[in-house]
Amino acid sequence: MDNGNGYRLTLLTAIIGLLYIVVGTIQEILFVIQYPVFGIPLDPIQALLLLVVGAVYLTGINHMRIKLEEGYAFVLVGSILAGLIFILQIIVIGTNALGWFLQLEDWSGWTIWQDITPSIWLFPFAMVLLIYAKTFDPLKTRHKEET
Protein backbone atom coordinates (compact mmCIF):
# COMPACT_ATOMS: atom_id res chain seq x y z
CA MET A 1 0.00 0.00 0.00
CA ASP A 2 1.38 3.40 -0.88
CA ASN A 3 2.05 6.20 1.55
CA GLY A 4 -0.50 8.47 -0.13
CA ASN A 5 -3.38 6.12 0.67
CA GLY A 6 -2.05 5.61 4.21
CA TYR A 7 -1.88 9.36 4.69
CA ARG A 8 -5.48 9.73 3.46
CA LEU A 9 -6.67 7.02 5.88
CA THR A 10 -4.88 8.72 8.77
CA LEU A 11 -6.41 12.06 7.82
CA LEU A 12 -9.92 10.60 7.47
CA THR A 13 -9.61 8.80 10.81
CA ALA A 14 -8.50 12.04 12.46
CA ILE A 15 -11.44 13.95 10.95
CA ILE A 16 -14.04 11.38 12.02
CA GLY A 17 -12.44 11.00 15.46
CA LEU A 18 -12.46 14.77 15.96
CA LEU A 19 -16.05 14.95 14.72
CA TYR A 20 -17.16 12.53 17.45
CA ILE A 21 -15.10 14.38 20.06
CA VAL A 22 -16.47 17.80 19.04
CA VAL A 23 -20.10 16.65 18.95
CA GLY A 24 -19.67 14.81 22.30
CA THR A 25 -18.19 17.95 23.85
CA ILE A 26 -20.97 20.14 22.43
CA GLN A 27 -23.55 17.71 23.84
CA GLU A 28 -21.91 17.89 27.29
CA ILE A 29 -21.86 21.71 27.14
CA LEU A 30 -25.51 21.84 26.04
CA PHE A 31 -26.39 19.60 28.98
CA VAL A 32 -24.54 21.88 31.42
CA ILE A 33 -26.26 25.01 30.11
CA GLN A 34 -29.55 23.08 29.64
CA TYR A 35 -30.02 24.27 26.05
CA PRO A 36 -31.57 21.58 23.83
CA VAL A 37 -30.81 21.65 20.11
CA PHE A 38 -32.51 19.58 17.40
CA GLY A 39 -30.61 16.30 16.93
CA ILE A 40 -28.60 16.69 20.14
CA PRO A 41 -30.65 15.73 23.21
CA LEU A 42 -29.51 16.70 26.71
CA ASP A 43 -27.90 13.40 27.70
CA PRO A 44 -24.46 13.57 29.34
CA ILE A 45 -23.91 9.79 29.21
CA GLN A 46 -24.56 9.58 25.47
CA ALA A 47 -22.10 12.45 25.08
CA LEU A 48 -19.49 10.41 26.97
CA LEU A 49 -20.06 7.50 24.59
CA LEU A 50 -19.31 9.76 21.63
CA LEU A 51 -16.13 10.91 23.37
CA VAL A 52 -15.03 7.28 23.86
CA VAL A 53 -15.68 6.47 20.18
CA GLY A 54 -13.72 9.58 19.18
CA ALA A 55 -10.89 8.62 21.55
CA VAL A 56 -10.67 5.13 19.97
CA TYR A 57 -10.32 6.65 16.48
CA LEU A 58 -7.77 9.23 17.58
CA THR A 59 -5.67 6.63 19.46
CA GLY A 60 -5.58 4.69 16.20
CA ILE A 61 -3.76 7.57 14.52
CA ASN A 62 -0.73 7.12 16.79
CA HIS A 63 -0.61 3.44 15.88
CA MET A 64 -1.01 4.20 12.15
CA ARG A 65 2.17 6.26 12.26
CA ILE A 66 4.05 3.17 13.48
CA LYS A 67 2.19 0.54 11.49
CA LEU A 68 -0.90 1.13 9.36
CA GLU A 69 -2.36 -2.32 10.03
CA GLU A 70 -2.41 -1.72 13.79
CA GLY A 71 -4.27 1.51 13.25
CA TYR A 72 -6.86 -0.42 11.24
CA ALA A 73 -7.76 -2.35 14.43
CA PHE A 74 -8.73 0.95 16.10
CA VAL A 75 -10.79 2.03 13.09
CA LEU A 76 -12.56 -1.34 13.19
CA VAL A 77 -13.36 -1.19 16.93
CA GLY A 78 -14.33 2.48 16.73
CA SER A 79 -16.78 1.58 13.97
CA ILE A 80 -18.12 -1.39 15.98
CA LEU A 81 -18.82 0.94 18.93
CA ALA A 82 -20.35 3.59 16.64
CA GLY A 83 -22.49 0.83 15.10
CA LEU A 84 -23.50 -0.47 18.53
CA ILE A 85 -24.86 2.87 19.72
CA PHE A 86 -26.46 3.46 16.32
CA ILE A 87 -28.30 0.10 16.35
CA LEU A 88 -29.34 0.71 19.94
CA GLN A 89 -30.93 4.01 18.99
CA ILE A 90 -32.67 2.36 16.00
CA ILE A 91 -34.14 -0.23 18.44
CA VAL A 92 -35.33 2.61 20.69
CA ILE A 93 -37.00 4.29 17.70
CA GLY A 94 -38.55 0.96 16.67
CA THR A 95 -40.07 0.25 20.09
CA ASN A 96 -41.29 3.84 20.47
CA ALA A 97 -42.87 3.60 17.03
CA LEU A 98 -44.62 0.40 18.15
CA GLY A 99 -46.03 2.20 21.21
CA TRP A 100 -47.22 5.07 19.00
CA PHE A 101 -48.71 2.64 16.46
CA LEU A 102 -50.62 0.79 19.20
CA GLN A 103 -51.86 4.18 20.44
CA LEU A 104 -50.58 3.61 23.96
CA GLU A 105 -51.10 6.60 26.25
CA ASP A 106 -47.41 7.30 26.97
CA TRP A 107 -46.59 7.45 23.25
CA SER A 108 -49.46 9.63 22.11
CA GLY A 109 -47.22 12.68 21.59
CA TRP A 110 -44.20 10.79 20.26
CA THR A 111 -42.52 11.85 17.03
CA ILE A 112 -39.46 10.29 15.42
CA TRP A 113 -37.59 13.60 15.66
CA GLN A 114 -37.41 13.25 19.45
CA ASP A 115 -35.24 10.16 19.05
CA ILE A 116 -32.76 11.57 16.54
CA THR A 117 -29.44 11.65 18.37
CA PRO A 118 -25.82 12.22 17.26
CA SER A 119 -25.29 8.44 17.33
CA ILE A 120 -27.71 8.26 14.38
CA TRP A 121 -26.44 11.06 12.16
CA LEU A 122 -22.74 10.50 12.92
CA PHE A 123 -22.90 6.82 11.99
CA PRO A 124 -22.75 7.33 8.17
CA PHE A 125 -19.41 9.12 8.64
CA ALA A 126 -18.09 6.15 10.63
CA MET A 127 -19.28 3.85 7.83
CA VAL A 128 -17.49 5.87 5.15
CA LEU A 129 -14.29 5.57 7.19
CA LEU A 130 -14.73 1.81 7.69
CA ILE A 131 -15.39 1.20 4.00
CA TYR A 132 -12.33 3.24 3.00
CA ALA A 133 -10.20 1.52 5.68
CA LYS A 134 -11.19 -1.92 4.34
CA THR A 135 -8.46 -1.42 1.72
CA PHE A 136 -5.93 -1.71 4.53
CA ASP A 137 -7.47 -4.73 6.26
CA PRO A 138 -4.33 -6.71 7.24
CA LEU A 139 -6.28 -9.98 7.17
CA LYS A 140 -7.33 -9.39 3.57
CA THR A 141 -3.85 -8.22 2.56
CA ARG A 142 -2.32 -11.33 4.14
CA HIS A 143 -4.80 -13.57 2.36
CA LYS A 144 -3.91 -11.97 -0.99
CA GLU A 145 -0.18 -12.40 -0.31
CA GLU A 146 -0.67 -16.08 0.57
CA THR A 147 -2.68 -16.82 -2.58
Binding site: V52, T59, A73, V77, G99, L139, R142
Partner: protein, 439 residues
Protein backbone atom coordinates in the same frame (compact mmCIF):
# COMPACT_ATOMS: atom_id res chain seq x y z
CA UNK B 1 10.51 -38.22 28.22
CA UNK B 2 8.96 -35.98 25.60
CA UNK B 3 7.13 -32.78 26.45
CA UNK B 4 3.86 -34.40 25.46
CA UNK B 5 4.42 -37.31 27.87
CA UNK B 6 5.32 -34.88 30.65
CA UNK B 7 2.15 -32.94 29.98
CA UNK B 8 -0.04 -36.10 29.98
CA UNK B 9 1.52 -37.28 33.25
CA UNK B 10 0.84 -33.96 34.88
CA UNK B 11 -2.76 -33.91 33.71
CA UNK B 12 -3.36 -37.38 35.17
CA UNK B 13 -1.91 -36.31 38.52
CA UNK B 14 -4.07 -33.25 38.83
CA UNK B 15 -7.17 -34.12 36.87
CA UNK B 16 -9.37 -34.65 39.94
CA UNK B 17 -8.10 -31.70 41.90
CA UNK B 18 -9.76 -28.46 40.80
CA UNK B 19 -7.48 -26.37 43.02
CA UNK B 20 -4.52 -27.52 40.97
CA UNK B 21 -5.96 -26.33 37.68
CA UNK B 22 -3.91 -23.16 37.84
CA UNK B 23 -0.69 -25.17 38.39
CA UNK B 24 -1.69 -27.36 35.47
CA UNK B 25 -2.27 -24.32 33.25
CA UNK B 26 1.09 -22.82 34.31
CA UNK B 27 2.84 -26.06 33.51
CA UNK B 28 1.00 -26.40 30.20
CA UNK B 29 2.14 -22.96 29.11
CA UNK B 30 5.71 -23.70 30.23
CA UNK B 31 5.72 -26.82 28.08
CA UNK B 32 4.18 -24.93 25.15
CA UNK B 33 6.93 -22.33 25.57
CA UNK B 34 9.62 -25.06 25.54
CA UNK B 35 8.18 -26.64 22.39
CA UNK B 36 7.93 -23.26 20.66
CA UNK B 37 11.56 -22.46 21.52
CA UNK B 38 12.63 -25.67 19.81
CA UNK B 39 10.25 -25.67 16.84
CA UNK B 40 9.22 -22.11 16.01
CA UNK B 41 11.14 -19.89 13.65
CA UNK B 42 10.02 -16.28 13.84
CA UNK B 43 8.69 -15.17 10.48
CA UNK B 44 6.32 -12.51 9.25
CA UNK B 45 3.83 -11.51 11.92
CA UNK B 46 0.37 -12.98 11.33
CA UNK B 47 -2.72 -11.33 12.66
CA UNK B 48 -6.09 -12.86 13.29
CA UNK B 49 -9.29 -10.89 13.72
CA UNK B 50 -9.20 -11.70 17.46
CA UNK B 51 -5.66 -10.28 17.73
CA UNK B 52 -6.83 -7.11 16.04
CA UNK B 53 -9.87 -6.68 18.26
CA UNK B 54 -7.89 -7.50 21.42
CA UNK B 55 -5.36 -4.83 20.51
CA UNK B 56 -8.12 -2.29 21.22
CA UNK B 57 -10.54 -4.07 23.60
CA UNK B 58 -7.64 -4.90 25.95
CA UNK B 59 -5.92 -1.54 25.47
CA UNK B 60 -4.28 -0.18 28.61
CA UNK B 61 -6.28 3.07 28.66
CA UNK B 62 -9.21 2.44 26.31
CA UNK B 63 -10.13 -1.00 27.69
CA UNK B 64 -12.17 0.26 30.65
CA UNK B 65 -14.00 3.11 28.79
CA UNK B 66 -14.94 0.63 26.04
CA UNK B 67 -16.14 -1.83 28.71
CA UNK B 68 -18.31 0.94 30.18
CA UNK B 69 -19.75 1.81 26.75
CA UNK B 70 -20.71 -1.83 26.21
CA UNK B 71 -22.22 -2.09 29.69
CA UNK B 72 -24.24 1.08 29.14
CA UNK B 73 -25.46 -0.23 25.80
CA UNK B 74 -26.57 -3.45 27.52
CA UNK B 75 -28.65 -1.68 30.17
CA UNK B 76 -29.97 0.98 27.82
CA UNK B 77 -31.18 -1.82 25.55
CA UNK B 78 -32.65 -3.70 28.53
CA UNK B 79 -34.72 -0.73 29.62
CA UNK B 80 -35.59 1.13 26.44
CA UNK B 81 -36.44 -1.88 24.31
CA UNK B 82 -38.68 -3.39 26.97
CA UNK B 83 -40.77 -0.38 28.06
CA UNK B 84 -43.44 -0.73 25.40
CA UNK B 85 -43.83 -4.48 26.01
CA UNK B 86 -44.10 -3.86 29.77
CA UNK B 87 -46.91 -1.38 29.20
CA UNK B 88 -48.74 -3.87 26.96
CA UNK B 89 -48.49 -6.60 29.65
CA UNK B 90 -49.52 -4.16 32.40
CA UNK B 91 -52.55 -3.05 30.38
CA UNK B 92 -53.54 -6.69 29.87
CA UNK B 93 -53.36 -7.40 33.61
CA UNK B 94 -55.23 -4.18 34.41
CA UNK B 95 -58.01 -5.35 32.10
CA UNK B 96 -57.99 -8.78 33.77
CA UNK B 97 -58.00 -7.16 37.23
CA UNK B 98 -61.06 -5.06 36.33
CA UNK B 99 -62.77 -8.20 35.07
CA UNK B 100 -62.21 -10.32 38.21
CA UNK B 101 -63.09 -7.43 40.52
CA UNK B 102 -66.70 -7.91 39.27
CA UNK B 103 -66.88 -11.27 41.11
CA UNK B 104 -69.72 -10.92 43.66
CA UNK B 105 -67.75 -12.53 46.55
CA UNK B 106 -65.75 -9.58 47.98
CA UNK B 107 -62.87 -11.52 49.55
CA UNK B 108 -62.34 -13.62 46.41
CA UNK B 109 -62.51 -10.58 44.14
CA UNK B 110 -59.98 -8.81 46.37
CA UNK B 111 -57.68 -11.86 46.54
CA UNK B 112 -57.65 -12.24 42.76
CA UNK B 113 -57.45 -8.56 41.78
CA UNK B 114 -55.47 -7.00 44.65
CA UNK B 115 -53.46 -10.08 45.62
CA UNK B 116 -52.64 -12.36 42.72
CA UNK B 117 -53.06 -10.06 39.72
CA UNK B 118 -51.62 -6.99 41.43
CA UNK B 119 -48.71 -9.08 42.75
CA UNK B 120 -47.82 -11.84 40.29
CA UNK B 121 -49.36 -10.00 37.33
CA UNK B 122 -47.34 -6.90 38.14
CA UNK B 123 -44.10 -8.85 38.52
CA UNK B 124 -44.78 -10.61 35.20
CA UNK B 125 -44.78 -7.23 33.48
CA UNK B 126 -41.03 -7.21 34.19
CA UNK B 127 -40.47 -10.31 32.08
CA UNK B 128 -39.37 -8.23 29.02
CA UNK B 129 -36.48 -6.37 30.77
CA UNK B 130 -35.31 -9.55 32.52
CA UNK B 131 -35.34 -11.50 29.25
CA UNK B 132 -33.67 -8.66 27.34
CA UNK B 133 -30.95 -8.43 30.00
CA UNK B 134 -30.29 -12.16 29.68
CA UNK B 135 -30.30 -11.82 25.88
CA UNK B 136 -27.67 -9.08 26.07
CA UNK B 137 -25.51 -11.10 28.51
CA UNK B 138 -25.82 -14.17 26.25
CA UNK B 139 -24.72 -12.18 23.19
CA UNK B 140 -21.72 -10.78 25.08
CA UNK B 141 -20.81 -14.27 26.31
CA UNK B 142 -21.15 -15.79 22.84
CA UNK B 143 -18.98 -13.13 21.21
CA UNK B 144 -16.19 -13.89 23.68
CA UNK B 145 -16.14 -10.32 25.07
CA UNK B 146 -17.19 -11.23 28.61
CA UNK B 147 -13.91 -13.04 29.37
CA UNK B 148 -12.09 -9.96 28.00
CA UNK B 149 -14.06 -7.82 30.46
CA UNK B 150 -12.53 -9.84 33.32
CA UNK B 151 -9.12 -9.32 31.75
CA UNK B 152 -9.69 -5.57 31.40
CA UNK B 153 -10.85 -5.24 35.02
CA UNK B 154 -7.90 -7.32 36.24
CA UNK B 155 -5.54 -4.34 36.10
CA UNK B 156 -7.80 -2.26 38.33
CA UNK B 157 -8.50 -5.15 40.69
CA UNK B 158 -4.86 -6.12 41.10
CA UNK B 159 -4.06 -2.51 41.96
CA UNK B 160 -6.51 -2.86 44.85
CA UNK B 161 -4.91 -6.12 45.98
CA UNK B 162 -7.52 -8.40 44.42
CA UNK B 163 -7.44 -11.24 41.98
CA UNK B 164 -8.61 -10.60 38.41
CA UNK B 165 -10.31 -13.96 38.24
CA UNK B 166 -12.73 -12.68 40.92
CA UNK B 167 -14.39 -10.55 38.28
CA UNK B 168 -15.81 -13.57 36.44
CA UNK B 169 -18.01 -14.68 39.37
CA UNK B 170 -18.90 -11.03 39.93
CA UNK B 171 -20.08 -10.72 36.32
CA UNK B 172 -22.22 -13.83 36.80
CA UNK B 173 -23.80 -11.93 39.68
CA UNK B 174 -25.60 -9.76 37.10
CA UNK B 175 -27.78 -12.79 36.51
CA UNK B 176 -28.06 -14.32 39.97
CA UNK B 177 -26.11 -13.86 43.22
CA UNK B 178 -26.32 -17.59 43.99
CA UNK B 179 -24.46 -18.36 40.74
CA UNK B 180 -21.85 -15.73 41.62
CA UNK B 181 -21.24 -17.18 45.08
CA UNK B 182 -20.94 -20.71 43.67
CA UNK B 183 -18.61 -19.56 40.87
CA UNK B 184 -16.21 -18.12 43.46
CA UNK B 185 -14.88 -21.70 43.73
CA UNK B 186 -12.80 -21.01 40.63
CA UNK B 187 -10.91 -18.20 42.39
CA UNK B 188 -7.44 -19.13 43.49
CA UNK B 189 -6.55 -18.96 47.21
CA UNK B 190 -8.74 -18.92 50.30
CA UNK B 191 -8.47 -15.17 50.91
CA UNK B 192 -9.35 -14.33 47.32
CA UNK B 193 -12.19 -16.85 47.27
CA UNK B 194 -13.75 -15.66 50.53
CA UNK B 195 -13.43 -12.02 49.52
CA UNK B 196 -15.22 -12.81 46.26
CA UNK B 197 -18.00 -14.64 48.11
CA UNK B 198 -18.44 -11.76 50.56
CA UNK B 199 -18.80 -9.11 47.85
CA UNK B 200 -20.69 -11.15 45.23
CA UNK B 201 -24.16 -10.16 46.56
CA UNK B 202 -23.28 -6.50 45.90
CA UNK B 203 -23.46 -7.16 42.18
CA UNK B 204 -26.93 -6.28 41.00
CA UNK B 205 -28.86 -9.47 40.20
CA UNK B 206 -31.84 -9.73 37.83
CA UNK B 207 -34.19 -9.84 40.84
CA UNK B 208 -33.41 -6.20 41.61
CA UNK B 209 -34.05 -5.10 38.03
CA UNK B 210 -37.86 -4.75 38.36
CA UNK B 211 -37.45 -2.20 41.15
CA UNK B 212 -34.88 -0.19 39.17
CA UNK B 213 -37.05 -0.24 36.07
CA UNK B 214 -40.12 0.78 38.07
CA UNK B 215 -38.48 3.60 40.05
CA UNK B 216 -36.32 4.91 37.19
CA UNK B 217 -39.29 4.84 34.83
CA UNK B 218 -41.50 6.77 37.25
CA UNK B 219 -39.08 9.30 38.71
CA UNK B 220 -36.43 9.69 35.98
CA UNK B 221 -38.24 8.79 32.73
CA UNK B 222 -35.93 10.64 30.35
CA UNK B 223 -32.73 9.05 31.69
CA UNK B 224 -34.16 5.77 33.00
CA UNK B 225 -31.71 3.54 31.09
CA UNK B 226 -28.77 5.56 32.36
CA UNK B 227 -30.03 5.40 35.97
CA UNK B 228 -30.31 1.60 35.73
CA UNK B 229 -26.79 1.46 34.25
CA UNK B 230 -25.46 3.61 37.11
CA UNK B 231 -26.99 1.22 39.66
CA UNK B 232 -25.06 -1.66 38.13
CA UNK B 233 -21.86 0.40 38.04
CA UNK B 234 -22.39 1.39 41.69
CA UNK B 235 -22.66 -2.33 42.52
CA UNK B 236 -19.31 -3.03 40.81
CA UNK B 237 -17.64 -0.05 42.49
CA UNK B 238 -18.94 -1.01 45.95
CA UNK B 239 -17.84 -4.63 45.40
CA UNK B 240 -14.31 -3.51 44.51
CA UNK B 241 -14.10 -1.09 47.45
CA UNK B 242 -15.45 -3.62 49.96
CA UNK B 243 -13.19 -6.37 48.60
CA UNK B 244 -10.23 -4.08 49.00
CA UNK B 245 -11.24 -3.31 52.61
CA UNK B 246 -11.70 -7.02 53.40
CA UNK B 247 -8.33 -7.90 51.89
CA UNK B 248 -6.64 -5.25 54.00
CA UNK B 249 -8.43 -6.03 57.27
CA UNK B 250 -9.66 -9.63 57.40
CA UNK B 251 -7.26 -11.52 55.19
CA UNK B 252 -3.56 -11.60 54.57
CA UNK B 253 -2.38 -10.21 51.26
CA UNK B 254 -2.38 -12.88 48.63
CA UNK B 255 -1.88 -11.88 45.04
CA UNK B 256 -1.19 -13.90 41.94
CA UNK B 257 -1.24 -13.09 38.24
CA UNK B 258 -4.40 -13.68 36.23
CA UNK B 259 -3.94 -16.58 33.86
CA UNK B 260 -6.83 -17.31 31.57
CA UNK B 261 -7.33 -18.55 28.08
CA UNK B 262 -9.15 -16.06 25.86
CA UNK B 263 -11.23 -17.80 23.24
CA UNK B 264 -11.44 -16.38 19.71
CA UNK B 265 -14.14 -13.80 19.04
CA UNK B 266 -17.20 -15.23 17.36
CA UNK B 267 -20.30 -13.85 15.73
CA UNK B 268 -23.15 -14.90 18.04
CA UNK B 269 -25.98 -16.89 16.52
CA UNK B 270 -29.59 -15.88 17.06
CA UNK B 271 -30.51 -19.44 18.01
CA UNK B 272 -27.72 -19.70 20.60
CA UNK B 273 -28.45 -16.30 22.17
CA UNK B 274 -32.21 -16.90 22.34
CA UNK B 275 -31.64 -20.40 23.76
CA UNK B 276 -29.40 -19.07 26.56
CA UNK B 277 -31.84 -16.23 27.26
CA UNK B 278 -34.71 -18.70 27.57
CA UNK B 279 -32.76 -21.10 29.83
CA UNK B 280 -32.07 -18.30 32.32
CA UNK B 281 -35.26 -16.32 31.90
CA UNK B 282 -37.51 -19.30 32.48
CA UNK B 283 -36.22 -19.41 36.07
CA UNK B 284 -37.78 -15.98 36.60
CA UNK B 285 -41.09 -17.27 35.22
CA UNK B 286 -40.86 -20.35 37.45
CA UNK B 287 -40.25 -18.12 40.50
CA UNK B 288 -43.25 -15.99 39.58
CA UNK B 289 -45.43 -19.06 39.24
CA UNK B 290 -44.38 -20.70 42.50
CA UNK B 291 -43.16 -18.87 45.56
CA UNK B 292 -43.87 -15.35 44.30
CA UNK B 293 -47.47 -16.52 43.84
CA UNK B 294 -47.45 -17.94 47.38
CA UNK B 295 -45.83 -14.70 48.57
CA UNK B 296 -48.59 -12.70 46.88
CA UNK B 297 -51.23 -14.56 48.83
CA UNK B 298 -49.34 -14.10 52.13
CA UNK B 299 -48.87 -10.36 51.52
CA UNK B 300 -52.54 -9.99 50.52
CA UNK B 301 -53.67 -11.81 53.69
CA UNK B 302 -51.46 -9.61 55.88
CA UNK B 303 -52.67 -6.47 54.05
CA UNK B 304 -56.38 -7.34 54.05
CA UNK B 305 -56.69 -8.74 57.56
CA UNK B 306 -56.03 -7.05 60.88
CA UNK B 307 -56.82 -7.72 64.54
CA UNK B 308 -60.43 -6.74 63.68
CA UNK B 309 -60.78 -9.23 60.82
CA UNK B 310 -61.11 -8.91 57.00
CA UNK B 311 -61.57 -5.66 55.13
CA UNK B 312 -59.98 -3.35 57.69
CA UNK B 313 -58.34 -0.13 56.43
CA UNK B 314 -54.74 -0.83 55.40
CA UNK B 315 -53.46 1.27 58.32
CA UNK B 316 -55.02 -1.26 60.71
CA UNK B 317 -53.82 -4.39 58.90
CA UNK B 318 -51.16 -6.79 60.16
CA UNK B 319 -48.74 -5.63 57.49
CA UNK B 320 -49.11 -2.03 58.66
CA UNK B 321 -48.56 -3.02 62.29
CA UNK B 322 -45.28 -4.76 61.37
CA UNK B 323 -44.23 -1.95 59.02
CA UNK B 324 -44.96 0.85 61.48
CA UNK B 325 -43.07 -1.00 64.22
CA UNK B 326 -39.85 -1.13 62.14
CA UNK B 327 -40.35 2.14 60.18
CA UNK B 328 -38.74 4.57 62.74
CA UNK B 329 -35.39 2.93 61.96
CA UNK B 330 -35.77 3.99 58.34
CA UNK B 331 -37.30 7.41 58.95
CA UNK B 332 -33.96 9.20 58.32
CA UNK B 333 -33.95 7.70 54.83
CA UNK B 334 -37.51 8.89 54.16
CA UNK B 335 -38.93 5.36 53.79
CA UNK B 336 -42.55 5.03 54.90
CA UNK B 337 -43.98 1.85 56.43
CA UNK B 338 -45.07 0.45 53.06
CA UNK B 339 -41.54 0.59 51.72
CA UNK B 340 -40.21 -0.95 54.93
CA UNK B 341 -42.65 -3.87 54.59
CA UNK B 342 -41.59 -4.33 50.95
CA UNK B 343 -37.94 -4.41 52.02
CA UNK B 344 -38.72 -7.05 54.67
CA UNK B 345 -40.37 -9.25 52.03
CA UNK B 346 -37.41 -8.56 49.74
CA UNK B 347 -35.36 -10.67 52.12
CA UNK B 348 -37.12 -13.73 50.65
CA UNK B 349 -36.44 -12.68 47.05
CA UNK B 350 -35.57 -9.29 45.62
CA UNK B 351 -38.46 -9.44 43.17
CA UNK B 352 -40.78 -9.41 46.17
CA UNK B 353 -39.94 -5.75 46.91
CA UNK B 354 -41.84 -4.55 43.84
CA UNK B 355 -44.49 -7.23 44.27
CA UNK B 356 -45.18 -6.19 47.88
CA UNK B 357 -45.40 -2.50 46.97
CA UNK B 358 -47.86 -3.32 44.17
CA UNK B 359 -50.13 -5.35 46.48
CA UNK B 360 -50.04 -2.88 49.37
CA UNK B 361 -50.87 0.08 47.13
CA UNK B 362 -53.52 -1.97 45.34
CA UNK B 363 -55.26 -2.98 48.58
CA UNK B 364 -54.97 0.59 49.88
CA UNK B 365 -56.49 2.38 46.91
CA UNK B 366 -57.55 2.21 43.31
CA UNK B 367 -54.70 4.44 42.23
CA UNK B 368 -51.97 2.85 40.11
CA UNK B 369 -48.64 2.14 41.79
CA UNK B 370 -46.88 4.83 39.74
CA UNK B 371 -49.22 7.57 40.92
CA UNK B 372 -49.09 6.26 44.51
CA UNK B 373 -45.30 6.27 44.57
CA UNK B 374 -45.14 9.75 43.05
CA UNK B 375 -47.54 10.99 45.72
CA UNK B 376 -45.74 9.31 48.62
CA UNK B 377 -42.00 9.64 48.02
CA UNK B 378 -39.63 12.24 46.59
CA UNK B 379 -37.16 11.55 43.75
CA UNK B 380 -34.29 11.64 46.27
CA UNK B 381 -35.99 9.03 48.47
CA UNK B 382 -36.67 6.97 45.34
CA UNK B 383 -32.98 7.04 44.45
CA UNK B 384 -32.07 6.16 48.06
CA UNK B 385 -34.47 3.21 47.84
CA UNK B 386 -32.76 1.95 44.67
CA UNK B 387 -29.36 2.20 46.35
CA UNK B 388 -30.68 0.48 49.48
CA UNK B 389 -32.15 -2.42 47.47
CA UNK B 390 -28.90 -2.74 45.52
CA UNK B 391 -26.81 -3.11 48.67
CA UNK B 392 -28.94 -4.53 51.49
CA UNK B 393 -29.09 -8.16 52.66
CA UNK B 394 -28.85 -10.82 49.98
CA UNK B 395 -31.91 -12.99 49.40
CA UNK B 396 -32.40 -16.15 51.42
CA UNK B 397 -31.14 -18.42 48.61
CA UNK B 398 -27.89 -16.45 48.42
CA UNK B 399 -27.47 -16.64 52.20
CA UNK B 400 -27.83 -20.42 51.92
CA UNK B 401 -25.18 -20.50 49.18
CA UNK B 402 -22.78 -18.36 51.24
CA UNK B 403 -23.26 -20.65 54.26
CA UNK B 404 -22.65 -23.70 52.09
CA UNK B 405 -19.58 -22.28 50.30
CA UNK B 406 -17.85 -20.86 53.39
CA UNK B 407 -19.07 -23.66 55.68
CA UNK B 408 -19.35 -21.01 58.37
CA UNK B 409 -22.16 -19.06 60.01
CA UNK B 410 -19.61 -16.42 61.01
CA UNK B 411 -18.90 -15.38 57.41
CA UNK B 412 -22.60 -15.60 56.56
CA UNK B 413 -23.51 -13.32 59.47
CA UNK B 414 -20.73 -10.93 58.49
CA UNK B 415 -22.10 -10.69 54.93
CA UNK B 416 -25.62 -9.90 56.14
CA UNK B 417 -24.42 -7.36 58.73
CA UNK B 418 -21.95 -5.45 56.59
CA UNK B 419 -24.45 -5.23 53.71
CA UNK B 420 -27.15 -3.81 56.00
CA UNK B 421 -24.77 -1.20 57.38
CA UNK B 422 -23.41 -0.38 53.92
CA UNK B 423 -26.89 -0.07 52.41
CA UNK B 424 -28.04 2.20 55.24
CA UNK B 425 -24.97 4.43 55.00
CA UNK B 426 -25.05 4.72 51.21
CA UNK B 427 -28.80 5.40 51.10
CA UNK B 428 -28.25 7.95 53.88
CA UNK B 429 -25.52 9.56 51.78
CA UNK B 430 -27.91 9.83 48.82
CA UNK B 431 -30.52 11.51 51.07
CA UNK B 432 -27.86 13.83 52.52
CA UNK B 433 -26.45 14.84 49.12
CA UNK B 434 -29.95 15.11 47.69
CA UNK B 435 -30.86 17.46 50.54
CA UNK B 436 -27.89 19.67 49.68
CA UNK B 437 -28.23 19.72 45.88
CA UNK B 438 -31.97 19.28 45.35
CA UNK B 439 -33.33 20.66 48.59
Amino acid sequence: MTSYEQSTELEEDFIDDSDNQIILADERYRIIGDILCEAYEPGKEKWTLSDMLDKVFLHKYLGIPIFLVIMWAMFHFTFQASVVFMVIIQNSFNWLGDLVSQIPIPWLASLLSNGIIAGVGFILSFVPPVFFLYLAISILEDTGYLSRAAFVMDRMMVKMGLHGRSFIPLLLGFGCSVAAVMAARTVEGRANRYTTILVSPLMSCAGRLPLYVLIAGIFFPTIAGTIVFLMYILGIVMAIIMASIFKKTLFEEETSPLLMELSMYQVPTLHGAVHHMWERGVLFLRQAGTYLLAGSIVIWVLSSFGPNGFGVPIQESFVSIVGQFVQPLFAPLGFDWRIVVALIFGFMAKEAVVQSLAIIYSVQSETAIAASLLANISPVTALALMVFVLLYVPCIATIGAIRSETDSWKWTALTISYQMVLAYLMAGLVVFLGGIFVG
